[in-house]
């Protein structure tokens, strides 16, 4: 810890106004020493020199800020203790957060403390200073000034920051010959061009899913990871509440080449080759127009089209059809036409990221490079050498540049071949501003003074523009000054407090789609490789984040890497099985991939995710999984043809957290599905606990004021994993690493179980925290009373009493307990060998568990305790909703409810009376306090008729 303090002391301070929140001396109460060090070396206690006004040591502070997700902003509220941000939660005022988070937002605190982050500029001759860079840059810019910036090229990702846009536009004005290229490996080019075809201009489509009654996704994973996941998930589930009028209950159809989260949550799912999705769209549009469909389709797809089209038509005005990023622009355009016919509830807005096609930008950039038009290159937080299609040959072109600089969090693949690498400040260390996918703007405010000698993009752009000691704070305020009107300071305070700038959401424009007519595709013969962003690490930029790497993929439960999923038929033809390594070859590129056979996949389709196989991500992310960017083509980034597949004879174990997926017979009661129709017909819910068994013991009377309980609505769970990472962040849950997961050792206190039915169809998602059983089987077996009940009904695990017999876990029917086989939190490889910065993330209210100790979900007892102490200081009891667990707070769909059963008005009590309510393994007599609502489905009754 001391090294961290000194590092901060050594960090030169810019003239930032963040002293009040500066991470100052770590007070002993916040020291994240591990349980193991219980000897008594002298311990120092260090006060402030000058105590900041708002800081009371020991009391966490919360600040609103904005996090970046692929260039889009998501408003969050960050908890900070003694100047250290330790936990991210959603900001209810922000339209891309709605008070919830996703895995990326939750994991950002870990990236902040990543010991692999760049700490100082690196010049052509090794470690350098910002001054040295400033000097080198000045010389270079003088040359550029003479030729009006003709050799100046700026590469960035998606850019929504009004301040950065303002700065860059000013820069481009000063250097009219300079060029600025923006690209994201996960681009929305197809969507954008489809809108141009349909509307004549690049409008962004924002479906109002919450108002829909029928939705059809044509390979559009709108519930999957991404900047819109939270908003879409919330809307989707709000349209699928049991309380809704059955007529208003959303029914989702999905047609996909490989199963996505959206497909897993659909009522009807069709496995279809991606090229044939256009034929499906054509068929549906024909049926809607009352014509006979004539596009060639397999019989199952024809039936799907007929039924879905009829359903869509019957719900005109409340029906939506969406297409995904893999689909070509004309399919998007056709969807716009269909939505026009259906009067679909959709907002069209001007794009938040006004750039043209990202693919074209890359093309133009590569063109500039190969024609030696680039003299001065500045890359803002992008990694084209890794994530641009390799056929552009950046790897060979970059070293020829006269001057290149890379600004980023890591000294990554691109940085390695640039002359300069400049360390970027983390979002949580920066002043900035960002817009959400719908245009909502918000301020990024720092929670901590930069840990290292880093700068923000604002500062670097200002440096290029010639400013000497630029301050991001001033730049951001400058941007908003005109908007604020009269009293800027109070406006500014309000904006910082709210975490959102009012009335910045882009207004929906009225747009009438043209009728487009597209040609059906012939029946494809060749196999196709379908790419998708990774649900855990997106495009690879977060590859060094151990929480994300270890986060089980929602459907396959794989961790640490990606796999190539293929259909059982293809696997049989290839003669390979799950775990075999195959070689994918396209043109000169060859990638070795691990196969996973997946029943939920169209034949002749290979599917995998981007973002893995990093070479210079850092100690955590290097060499995890395989990199498919080399196979990507600039013109076809998503559906890659001409790929040959061959066995290599090698095989590899896949680190997977879930043992079995299939539920058959009586086990389907573990995750029962109830159809909306059955529920409306007055179905008696799934089985409740049986009559208690005879016992020698008298019943235990309980007169305590609290009885905490949780109800998880599996109908509302979309499987996004936000709760898993939220729990990890809140409770100091360590990472174990792939080797341990291969040995079936995991630490996540909360897991999301995914089951399939006998046919392989996804049965649903079931988050499983500790059940806090009233008759907990784990407790009487503990010989030292480390697992006991407290008087609030919590099944508490006393780490310091635990001696590690593991009897509790062996007797836990839910297997929710987690054992520290090694000192995972201390000095293991995947805890970065215990490097100090990682420990700064630890929540000081939660003990860091030592080796040999059992741990498990505590219902966030530290939050309960805090609420209780606050209430007791005010001589009152805790109110309903006052305690929010970390998983509950994170959940985008509000599937998790928590409260006090002794409070008759508590929401959990109402949910426990719900028809869908059931106990997991309730027949064992454990009387779980965590209970569930059954999965609710809304199948189309016509579908089975159409089948026959």
């Amino acid at each position: 810890m001391s090294s961290m303090t000194s590092r901060r002391d050594a960090a030169p301070l810019s003239a930032f106004d963040i002293d009040r929140r500066a991470a100052l001396k770590l007070l002993a109460s916040g020291m994240a020493l591990s349980l193991a060090s219980c000897g008594k070396p002298p311990e120092e206690i260090v006060p402030y020199v000058d105590q900041p006004e708002r800081v009371v040591p020991g009391i966490p502070l919360k600040f609103a800020t904005t996090l970046d997700m692929a260039g889009y902003g998501r408003g969050v509220i960050v908890t900070s203790v003694e100047g250290r941000p330790i936990k991210v939660e959603g900001n209810p005022r922000h339209s891309a957060s709605l008070g919830a988070t996703d895995v990326f937002a939750e994991a950002s605190v870990l990236s902040l403390y990543d010991p692999d982050r760049s700490k100082a500029p690196r010049g052509p001759k090794g470690i350098a200073s910002w001054d040295a860079f400033g000097d080198a840059l000045r010389t270079q810019m003088e040359k550029e000034k003479k030729r009006q910036g003709a050799g100046l090229r700026l590469v960035s990702g998606r850019m929504t920051s009004p301040t950065l846009l303002r700065q860059i536009n000013a820069l481009l004005k000063a250097f009219p010959q300079a060029r600025w290229y923006r690209y994201e490996p996960i681009s929305d080019d197809n969507e954008r061009e489809g809108a141009v075809m349909a509307f004549g201009r690049p409008l962004t489509t924002l479906p109002r899913i919450g108002e829909a009654s029928v939705a059809l996704s044509l390979d559009d994973d709108f519930l999957g990871a991404g900047p819109r996941q939270i908003a879409n998930g919330r809307a989707f589930i709000s349209a699928r509440r049991a309380e809704n009028d059955p007529d208003r209950f959303l029914r989702l159809y999905a047609a996909e080449p490989a199963l996505s989260l959206t497909g897993a949550n659909a009522d009807h799912w069709l496995a279809i080759r991606p090229e044939l999705i256009r034929n499906l769209a054509i068929a549906i549009s024909a049926i809607l127009r009352g014509e006979k469909p004539n596009a060639p389709l397999p019989p199952a797809a024809q039936r799907f089209a007929t039924v879905a089209a009829a359903d869509l038509k019957s719900k005109t005005g409340k029906a939506i059809v969406t297409a995904g990023r893999t689909q070509p622009p004309d399919v998007h355009a056709l969807c716009h036409t269909i939505n026009g016919m259906l009067h679909a509830p959709i907002d069209y807005i001007e794009p938040v990221d006004p750039a043209g096609k990202h693919g074209e930008a890359l093309h133009a950039f590569a063109d500039d490079l190969s024609n030696n038009r680039v003299e001065t290159l500045l890359i803002l937080d992008r990694n084209p050498v890794y994530d641009a299609p390799h056929e552009l040959g950046f790897n060979g072109l970059f070293p020829k540049l006269p001057f290149s600089a890379h600004l980023g969090l890591y000294d990554d693949e691109t940085a390695a071949i640039c002359h300069w690498h400049l360390p970027l400040s983390h979002t949580l260390e920066s002043w900035s501003d960002l817009r959400a996918h719908d245009g909502t703007a918000s301020i990024v405010q720092p929670l901590i003074r930069p840990l290292y000698d880093t700068r923000t993009a604002h500062q670097v752009i200002a440096l290029i523009s010639g400013a000497l000691s630029p301050s991001s704070y001033d730049l951001v305020r400058e941007t908003w000054q005109p908007q604020a009107g009269g009293d800027f300071e109070s406006w500014w305070r309000q904006v910082l407090h709210d975490g959102v700038i009012a009335e910045t959401r882009h207004v929906a424009v009225s747009a009438q789609p043209k009728a487009v007519d597209i040609k059906p595709a012939p029946n494809p013969t060749e196999a196709v490789l379908v790419l998708a962003p990774d649900p855990s690490i997106w495009d690879g930029r977060d590859a060094n984040n151990a929480w994300l790497q270890e986060c089980p993929k929602p459907l396959s439960k794989e961790t640490w890497g990606n796999t190539l999923s293929i259909s059982p038929r293809d696997a049989q033809q290839l003669g390979c099985q799950t775990g075999d390594v195959v070689a994918l070859t396209r043109k000169n590129a060859k990638v070795e991939a691990v196969v996973r056979v997946d029943a939920n996949q169209a034949d002749s389709v290979y599917a995998t995710t981007l973002g893995h196989g990093r070479r210079k991500a850092g100690a955590i992310g290097n060499g995890i999984g395989f990199d498919v960017y080399p196979l990507r083509a600039i013109d076809e980034p998503w559906l890659i043809g001409g790929v040959t597949i061959a066995k290599t004879g090698k095989s590899r174990d896949i680190p997977t957290t879930q043992g079995q997926f299939r539920l058959e017979g009586e086990t389907t009661e573990f995750l029962p599905r109830v159809s909306l129709a059955a529920l409306a017909a007055g179905l008696k819910g799934p089985p409740f606990a049986e009559e208690p068994k005879p016992t020698l013991y008298p019943p235990v009377h309980n007169d305590d004021p609290y009885a905490w309980a949780m109800v998880i609505d599996t109908a509302a769970c979309i499987g996004c994993n936000a709760c898993v990472i939220a729990c990890q962040a809140e409770n100091n849950v360590p990472v174990v690493g792939p080797d341990q997961i291969l040995r079936s050792r995991v630490m996540h206190w909360l897991r999301v179980d995914t089951y399939t039915d006998a046919n392989g169809g996804i049965q649903g998602f079931q988050p499983v925290p500790c059940m806090h059983c009233e008759h907990a089987p784990c407790e009487p077996v503990c010989p030292v009373a480390a697992s006991v009940h407290d008087r609030e009904g919590l099944n508490v695990q006393v780490y310091n009493r635990c001696i590690g017999t593991r009897f509790c876990q062996s007797n836990c029917p839910y297997k929710v307990r987690r054992f520290n086989w090694f000192g995972y939190a201390d000095d293991e490889e995947y805890a970065n060998l215990g490097e100090p910065p990682i420990k700064a993330q630890h929540n000081p209210d939660v003990t860091v568990r030592a080796r040999g100790v059992m741990e498990k979900c505590t219902y966030c007892v530290q939050r309960i305790s805090r609420a209780r102490r606050e209430a007791e200081k005010e001589n009152r009891t805790i109110k309903d909703g006052e305690v929010v667990t970390a998983c509950q707070a994170a959940c985008p769909t509000r599937a998790i409810s928590f409260g006090n059963l002794k409070d008759t008005g508590a929401h959990v009590n109402a949910l426990r009376q719900h028809k869908q309510h059931y106990e997991l393994l309730g027949h064992l007599g454990t009387r779980p306090r965590t209970t569930y609502l059954a999965r609710l489905t809304n199948p189309n009754p016509d579908f089975d008729e159409a089948k026959s």
């Binding site: 020291m31 349980l35 260090v46 020199v49 105590q51 040591p57 003990t847 007791e872």
Partner: protein, 218 residues
């Protein structure tokens, strides 16, 4: 045949047999005594501090309120240590050239904090909250001892779990009225047990919860 053993061997053998029986109990007793001793608990041990700050002088002679320096004690789990500026409110005028106070002046000048040695230490898995104890009528001196008489701070109590429990099981002998919490000279009333019961009800203290593991361990 000569004798193998001398007559004294009988006594030795008896003593050995008895000690096999008694020995383990003696060892347990010694172990308990050691764990209760200052060697383990750190009780009453004074440490070398960068500045020999005297509570006897400040809290005793000058009768400065505890909260003047330990400002967080009513709000936070952590009572708080005075920032250097708090020291300097007085010492910019008093004893301005006292060599003993050089580290304080140096701290302010260099803006480097003073590194004190921690006197009252609890393990990391114990979550003690000053504010709730203050709010519920536990005075400073109940746990910290008569600090107003201590020239150098020391740990007055054992701070073992058993010591914590002795109050958590029944706080009545230690409860004070609100206005006495910061009074270093408070003595239990003659009818303290009666008064304590009243205060227990007054503060709405639920003693049953006080011995839950989760009250202190999380």
């Amino acid at each position: 045949m000569p004798q193998i053993f001398r007559p004294s061997a009988d006594s030795i053998a008896r003593v050995l047999l008895v000690s096999i029986l008694v020995g383990p109990f003696v060892l347990i007793g010694i172990g308990y005594a050691v764990t209760q001793s200052p060697y383990i608990t750190g009780q009453n041990i004074t440490m070398k501090q960068p500045v020999p700050f005297s509570h006897a002088h400040h809290a005793g002679d000058l009768a400065i309120d505890c909260r003047y320096c330990h400002a967080g004690v009513e709000k936070s789990a952590f009572a708080g240590l005075p920032p250097t500026t708090t020291c300097m409110t007085c010492h910019s005028q008093l004893y301005t050239n006292e060599p003993m106070l050089a580290p304080v002046r140096q701290s302010l000048a260099e803006r480097r904090p003073i590194h004190w040695q921690r006197v009252h230490r609890l393990p990391d898995y114990v979550y003690f909250d000053h504010s709730i104890h203050i709010a519920k009528g536990i005075g400073c001196t109940t746990c910290h001892g008569p600090v107003q008489t201590m020239p150098l701070m020391r740990q007055h109590e054992t701070l073992t779990m058993g010591w914590c429990l002795s109050c958590h099981r029944d706080p009545t002998p230690y409860l004070r009225p609100e206005n006495q919490v910061f009074n270093s000279d408070w003595k239990p009333a003659a009818d303290q047990l009666k008064q304590g019961k009243k205060l227990l009800a007054h503060y709405l203290i639920d003693t049953k919860h006080l011995t839950d593991c989760s009250t202190c361990h999380r």
